[in-house]
């Protein structure tokens, strides 16, 4: 087919504005190459700013349905502000939904980052492959063809309820890091589906956006036991309370798992409490008498997607060590030797968490250990009839 200058010009304009351009599935790389060539030529001669085409990661994001696709594309736009990636979004259309076609379709677009002074530099690119259910059989080969060589690949698995066959069969073999979000788990079994997925992915690093969301809380809470307090109160703890928004019990469970793992608490039993919360008993030794009682208590209050409102550790001498969210981005830290202090509690967007997950914080071996510990907690036989489990 001979080149159509008007169409090429229109496509370039759309590309420079970061708008999607429909292309033949088999011609993605060639079309991208042509657009970049034109962009760099225009950048050098007209705008005055050289164009950088950069990618530190191939980022593969499987998704399902138009609504999820729109959300994913917005997320990719935001991620591009923090780290340049070649994003490859794989979307299965809902059957019968508007916009669903018969076969595979592809669009390409750029992610443009504004520079001070009004100059624009095009940073990274986004490829969207979309098709009806059944198209996933083509996704694996397309991803392998579209990966930028020499650049690591991450798979962003945001919907814990999606069938995992595509991920396990096609994507994990070409992936260097798996990113999940435990906060997307609406029911505890989803959390443990992810745990099995993480075990399957081993030894790939598995990063969890939910775990990263808990990072601020963990840091503040850990900071309570820095000198001059030290770790002694943790060894004398008799009670732990994690207050969480209703529906945020999985994040709360991960926090309890973190403390149990770090402090070598041995889980003994679990029960549902009258207020709709959960209780876990732990021992430090080999006996069966409970030495630490941990409560997960649903509480109303403003908080981020992580859903945790407060963590309180009680010591035998009635001393308390508390980190308590007082606003969306503020917390109060309390310990016996100092007055309560208001501190900033960072609330990160999903895109910022994804950027963090692509960095060193996405290789946290503690997460897998805590996830496995949370699985153990959840697997305890409930002691109370009518348990919602």
């Amino acid at each position: 087919m001979s080149p159509d200058p008007e169409r090429e010009h229109a496509n370039f304009e759309r590309f420079a504005r970061g708008e999607p351009i429909a292309v033949e599935v088999g011609e993605i790389e060639r079309e991208l190459g042509a657009l970049w060539k034109r962009a760099s030529s225009a950048g050098n001669t007209h705008a005055g700013a050289a164009v950088s085409r950069a990618a530190l990661w191939n980022l593969i994001i499987p998704t399902r349905g138009s609504a999820a696709l729109a959300k994913t594309k917005a997320l990719v736009d935001d991620i591009a502000q923090g780290v340049p990636v070649r994003a490859i979004t794989l979307c299965l259309d809902d059957p019968g939904s508007a916009g669903a076609g018969d076969g595979l379709s592809a669009t390409i677009e750029s992610n443009v980052v504004s520079q001070p002074g009004g100059a624009r530099v095009v940073y990274s690119e986004e490829i969207t492959l979309r098709g009806p259910v059944g198209s996933e059989t083509h996704f694996g080969a397309l991803v392998r063809a579209l990966q930028i060589p020499g650049v690591p690949t991450a798979a962003l698995w945001m919907d814990a309820a999606m069938p995992t066959a595509l991920l396990i069969r096609e994507l994990l073999p070409v992936t260097d890091r798996l990113i999940v979000d435990t906060a997307s788990c609406v029911r505890p079994p989803h959390l443990f589906d992810l745990q099995r997925l993480a075990a399957h992915a081993h030894p790939l690093p598995v990063a969890d956006l939910g775990w990263l969301r808990l990072g601020s809380f963990r840091l503040l809470f850990a900071g309570l036991f820095d000198p001059p307090v030290g770790g002694a109160p943790l060894g004398r703890a008799t009670g732990l309370t994690v207050r969480h928004r209703p529906g945020g019990d999985l994040s709360a469970l991960l926090l309890v798992a973190w403390l149990g793992q770090m402090l070598s608490w041995r889980p003994l039993r679990a029960a549902q409490t009258a207020d709709g919360g959960l209780r876990f008993d732990f021992t430090r030794g080999t006996g069966t008498a409970a030495e630490i009682e941990a409560f997960l208590i649903p509480t109303e209050g403003a908080c981020d997607a992580g859903g945790v409102l407060a963590i309180e550790l009680h010591e035998s001498g009635h001393d308390e060590y508390v980190v308590c969210r007082t606003a969306l981005d503020q917390a109060s830290v309390q310990l016996p030797i100092a007055p309560a202090k208001a501190v900033k509690l960072d609330a990160y967007s999903d895109a910022e968490l994804c950027v963090a997950a692509l960095g060193p914080r996405g290789r946290d071996p503690l997460f897998a250990r805590c996830l496995a510990y949370a699985d153990r907690l959840w697997s305890l036989e409930p002691q109370t009839l009518g348990s919602r489990r």
């Binding site: 950069a54 963990r218 307090v229 002694a232 943790l234 310990l335 900033k344």
Partner: protein, 522 residues
């Protein structure tokens, strides 16, 4: 509020495990001497605020400013807030975060040579530590004139504010700004005075160039990539150029600069530190002393410039009136606090050699100047030409490969190489392969002071200068100063002149031309 027993046995905090990547220091207080000065407002507090914003400081952390001006805590906080609003990397300032951060900022008036003021400082510090539940970890930042370094450290010792380290005791560290001495003798004397009070491991001599991301990346670039280090020697490198250019003149620092000159202000510290990192051997580990041992070897291997070659290898000059950024600027001798017959250099260019197996015969050209056309610091490694030229017409040269490491601004690395021009003819054009922090990582690197303050709080001295390094660099630089003094005594001065807005005097060009080379346009 509960108080702790006097000497509790503090158990380690098990919850810190797994948070190591965050590199959060233990709770501490930082005392800044010279708190009412410009550095505190422009660099130190903005750096501490940005660290707080990035959650890299502990929740329990206090700043106590100490200065001559009478200020209340509130007035000091307000001044620091304005500084952060103007200079912090993370802007705009988050009001909630600032409120929490500012609550732990305090101010104490006092004179640096008044022992009673240091006793009052100690009382105030202990009261703050008690109130905020701090364990007694302290960092003292000397952002004061160099003449006060020794008195302040003596007073710290007399007031028992900085006891020597011992297991289980809180730490006390002292950050000392440059210049550390004005020549070898004064640097040695200062080291002796400081060591009377402090162990070397408590001393953090700061050179903010070492906190720059690209300077640290130099080590990663060289020692984490297999392909460059084999080329990093006299078999493949033709020469190295290190440029530290500023557009500013002496501004309000004419009095200081008259005593210092470019050699003391830039070369002795910044450029020789950068040189030592670029030329050093691989350290046995990425640990403070291992890295500093290797840097020291480079400084010790600097060949003293022979008297007979001195005028060919050392060029100094002063800027005359000229134009910078479209504005007319005065010459150096017309600047405030500068004498009309001043012989202080505002530009220096040097050719030097490192006597080692790796660098035998490879010249290193250093230049540093004020009132240059643009602000830029870079290292350029120029490689030798291909041994046999297959391409190009007879007599036509192909530009050599240059690896340039840009330290500021636009931090990054570029590799220039020749590429065939498209078309039937075999024509070669230079092309550049560039890596820039801004575009590759999408974020600007942190300010140098952020990294260095954090490192000090963590007890990591890798990016700070050790006593023997300081003395080794002064030993080399002081010989040049002595020779200049001899020339003045002999009644001849070699001081050139260059118009502001140029790349330096003709003498610097001649120095390169004599070797068949030219300065790069950075």
């Amino acid at each position: 509020m509960k108080t702790l027993p006097d000497d509790p046995l503090i158990l380690p905090n098990p919850l810190r495990e797994g948070l190591v990547e965050e590199r959060i220091p233990e709770p501490a207080a930082m005392v800044i001497f010279g708190a009412s000065g410009d550095l505190t407002r422009r660099k130190l507090l903005p750096a501490l605020y940005s660290l707080t914003r990035d959650r890299l400081l502990p929740a329990r952390f206090a700043v106590l400013g100490f200065g001559r001006l009478p200020l209340t805590d509130e007035a000091f906080r307000e001044e620091m807030r304005r500084g952060c609003e103007e200079f912090a990397r993370r802007r705009p300032i988050d009001p909630a975060l600032w409120a929490a951060f500012a609550r732990n900022i305090f101010y104490q008036q006092g004179a640096y040579d008044d022992p009673a003021a240091f006793l009052r400082l100690k009382e105030r510090l202990e009261e703050i530590e008690h109130r905020l539940g701090l364990p007694g970890n302290r960092v003292f930042y000397l952002s004061t004139p160099p003449s006060t370094f020794a008195p302040v450290i003596r007073s710290l010792g007399q007031a028992d504010l900085a006891p020597k380290p011992a297991p289980g005791r809180p730490f006390s560290r002292v950050i000392i700004e440059k210049p550390f001495g004005v020549d070898l003798e004064t640097a040695r004397a200062l080291n002796r005075e400081v060591h009377d009070i402090l162990d070397e491991q408590q001393i953090y001599r700061i050179d903010h160039y070492l906190g720059k991301e690209t300077v640290q990346n130099l080590l990663v670039f060289r020692f984490a990539n297999g392909i460059f280090e084999p080329l990093w020697n006299n078999r493949f490198v033709d020469h190295v150029q290190i440029t530290g250019a500023e557009t500013v003149g002496v501004e309000a620092r004419g009095g200081y600069f008259e005593q210092a000159g470019s050699m003391r202000d830039m070369v002795q510290n910044h450029l020789l530190q950068v040189l030592s990192l670029a030329a050093m051997e691989p350290p046995v580990a990425f640990e403070a002393d291992a890295v500093r041992d290797e840097k020291l070897k480079v400084l010790k291997a600097l060949r003293f410039i022979p008297e007979a070659e001195f005028d060919q290898q050392v060029v100094r000059a002063q800027y005359a009136a000229g134009s910078i950024g479209g504005k007319t600027v005065p010459g150096y001798r017309s600047e405030p606090d500068v004498g009309p017959r001043s012989t202080t250099e505002t530009f220096v260019a040097l050719k030097l050699f490192i006597d080692s197996w790796r660098w035998a015969g490879v010249p290193f050209y250093l230049r540093s100047g004020k009132r240059m056309p643009k602000r830029v610091t870079e290292i350029a490694i120029q490689f030798k030409e291909a041994p046999h030229l297959l391409f190009g017409k007879r007599g036509e040269t192909i530009r050599p490969n240059v690896l340039s490491i840009r330290i500021q601004p636009d931090e990054g690395i570029a590799l220039n190489f020749g590429s065939k021009l498209p078309g039937p003819a075999m024509e070669i054009a230079p092309v550049s392969m560039e890596f820039r922090y801004g575009s590759s990582f999408g974020v600007e690197p942190p300010e140098a002071y952020e990294r260095l303050l954090l490192d000090c709080l963590l007890g990591d001295g890798t990016l700070f200068t050790r006593a023997d390094e300081v003395e080794a660099s002064w030993r080399w630089v002081s010989r040049i100063h002595r020779r200049w003094a001899e020339q003045v005594a002999e009644g001849r001065t070699t001081l050139d002149s260059y118009p502001a807005g140029s790349w330096g005097p003709e003498g610097a060009e001649r120095m390169m031309a004599a070797d068949g080379r030219a300065w790069r346009l950075p």
